[in-house]
Symmetry: D2
Subunit: 247 residues, 4 copies
């Protein structure tokens, strides 16, 4: 592994997608700054990266707090120039609109949209003076579709997509690649397996054929593809789903 003088920040470094993104960029030589609510939970991830010869820092981060985002990204940038910032916080909930409390609506927005705005803006502020950088956002089916029960979640994801679009149009000409990765499918996480079991029975999980659910590593790989694009052929929106997915 050849080390780079560059950091990649992963905001929302959960056990599945976020962890795989962190590992991928670490194994490609980036110093990784990984943030999540409870930074303690990042210890195994950091150890795994370090064991493989990589460099990573795990931090407790409430991404809804402006000062915490500022500090997190600025610390990353001080370590080495911030080259990649990936915002990966979800907040997938489903309630009928009449049962959606204002607290839920607000909290989902703060987690999935407002904190994404903060992250994107702060990353841009650090990258603009150097005239380079990559800011990527994780989207979902609900980024494009307000389905039944998704008033809160889709509203936040639509809102995040708008932030990404505006950022892309503003920052692209300044050599900062902004992209929005739409994961249009279930990713293979504990939570998705549990829901699948509830809906379809135990066999739907125990005898799950390969590649029906998207591996978290495949998401990380998609981000890596985005990172590798030459600047005369950048994608803004990039959608991925497993081969057998209905859409």
């Amino acid at each position: 592994m050849e080390k780079r003088n560059a950091t990649a920040a992963v905001i929302g470094a959960g056990d599945f997608i976020g962890a795989e993104i962190a590992k991928k960029f670490a194994f490609e030589g980036f110093t990784v700054f990984a943030g999540r609510r409870n930074g303690e939970k990042l210890v195994p991830l950091v150890q795994e990266i370090e064991k493989a010869g990589g460099t990573a820092f795990g931090r407790s981060l409430d991404a809804r707090k402006e000062d915490e985002i500022v500090k997190f990204l600025s610390d990353a940038d001080k370590h080495a120039p911030l080259e990649v910032c990936i915002f990966n916080i979800g907040a997938n909930v489903n309630f009928p609109i009449v049962e959606t409390t204002e607290r839920v609506f607000r909290k989902v927005w703060e987690m999935a949209c407002y904190s994404g705005f903060l992250a994107g803006r702060e990353a841009a502020r650090l990258m603009l003076p150097r005239g380079r950088g990559n800011i990527f956002f994780t989207g979902a089916t609900a980024s494009l579709r307000g389905g039944i029960g998704y008033a809160a979640f889709a509203s936040a994801k639509f809102g995040l997509r708008a932030v990404a679009q505006a950022a892309s149009r503003e920052l692209g000409p300044q050599n900062i690649h902004v992209a929005h990765l739409i994961i249009d499918a279930g990713v293979d996480t504990a939570w998705v397996r549990e829901r699948r079991k509830e809906r379809m029975g135990a066999d739907a999980v125990d005898k799950l054929p390969p590649d029906v659910l998207m591996r978290p590593a495949a998401v990380a790989n998609a981000y890596w593809q985005l990172y590798q694009q030459p600047r005369d052929a950048w994608s803004f929106e990039h959608e991925i789903r497993p081969f057998g997915e209905r859409w």
Copy 2:
């Protein structure tokens, strides 16, 4: 004017679009409840409606406050069954993303998205037991496009559109018509004229040909068309722009 035993609530009854919506529904026989931040400013509107034989009530309303929305719509519904609720609050601002403060981002969302969610949810709660009603939301170009400088505004408008979509899918089968009216153009308001003058010179306003800007009354008319649709042919999304508009 034949009076109906029905109220129409207009949330965001500003001097232009909102006022015209209020008048249109009042002149069609609805009792109108009009709400805006400073209820004092509604006096002339209410007088105009009453002079023409209609019925209207003007109220001070901070639509970002859940209890105020609840009270406003519940008062309207007590007067006569709430048949139409139109959410018409905008918050059009333009800032480069790196100059968008967290305060602006949050406030624009609270005005243009969060309060729309509250209004739609409360209207639904009142309408569902009766199995009928109409909930309409005002959209804009920024509902579909995150343009340069619109990170905050487009984020809120995208988010509102998602609320409307989810509400439409949930409430349509329960006989509640939810629609999202996209105004893809400048409406003829004092503010738009001012901006036009700045950009294009005084003549662009003083010698403005007819129908280049959309009349607020045309927006009211579009809502009236939506209201009149039979339930076997409802529109969810309805876009309007002047004949000469570039799009």
Copy 3:
């Protein structure tokens, strides 16, 4: 019925949607020119319109033939100025892509797209010198979605939508209203009832509740709404579906 000095041409005046459009515009005072492959079948429609005091002409028309379209619209325009041209030819077929013959693919395109281009272009040529007119196209779910088995049909409908968009952008500023009406649901026709029976059993048709399928008259009504829009608030795309439709 007050007669207008204006004609409305309906291309694809089939037994259901097309016939209702013809009647609606005839009853509103237009002279109607109705065209379909076998003009004989238009006799009852013309009689119904005449009995009600309207004026209509039924013509055999193969809309895939440029000279026939030219003659049909030019005859209409000679009778009285062509004010409305509605293109309503469908060609809904479903085949797996590997079983779609080149003949089917081509024929569906000729019926649903190519002839729509011819109709729109010729209507524009007649309307432009007078600086007014309305050109409307019937779209479908497949105008926006290439679903399984719809390679041929969706390809034609997508293509027609592009024609409508380009026409709208070109002709709008010249005071010609071009619109694309997306019928995102099954319309209550003999063919749809038959398919419904096959899929869901006889009861799904015999005991069909009202407003589950869209009445052809509701489509005609939607076109009438488009026609009535003031030019400072024209819709280009207008989608309609029944209240209970899943989308």
Copy 4:
């Protein structure tokens, strides 16, 4: 270069994009079958590939002829299993709709849509029995937008996109990756340079900064990224544009 027992067919192997795609896949070890109207013009491309140790065959191909497409792909498949089929024929013309002849409209469709259907269908027929393969289509800005003057071109490109969508939904679950690459910008070709000079003056070409126009090789690279995607994270639609492009 490690040779693969697999062919890649490039339909529309023009001097720029098509040639780069051919080279990329040849250099990655595929036997390339390249087709274009005048096969003579493929000699230098084939020589360049062979000189580098690759294998390629250049063929005259009128892709609008069903029998020619069948033979071209079947020959490719006989040489080695057809693993990749890329349809890359454009037909970019711009005419006001009223000046668009039926001949132009039909021809553009035959080149850019109908032949794409034939290519996709025939590739699918060859790939399905083996349960694997990749079918990619080149899209453009006009795949999503019917702009002024683009009635013919956008209609064909919209139509091709529908074919690709239907194919993707049908063939994905059978392990065939269908994708639609939207090039939302000018590519650096002789024709684009010429138009740029006309519009913006000689300096806009002679002093063209790097990466303002997309290199044809970047398009080839995008196709290579699509080919490399694991099947649990396939993209259907993939859009690319240069960093400074307005969109």
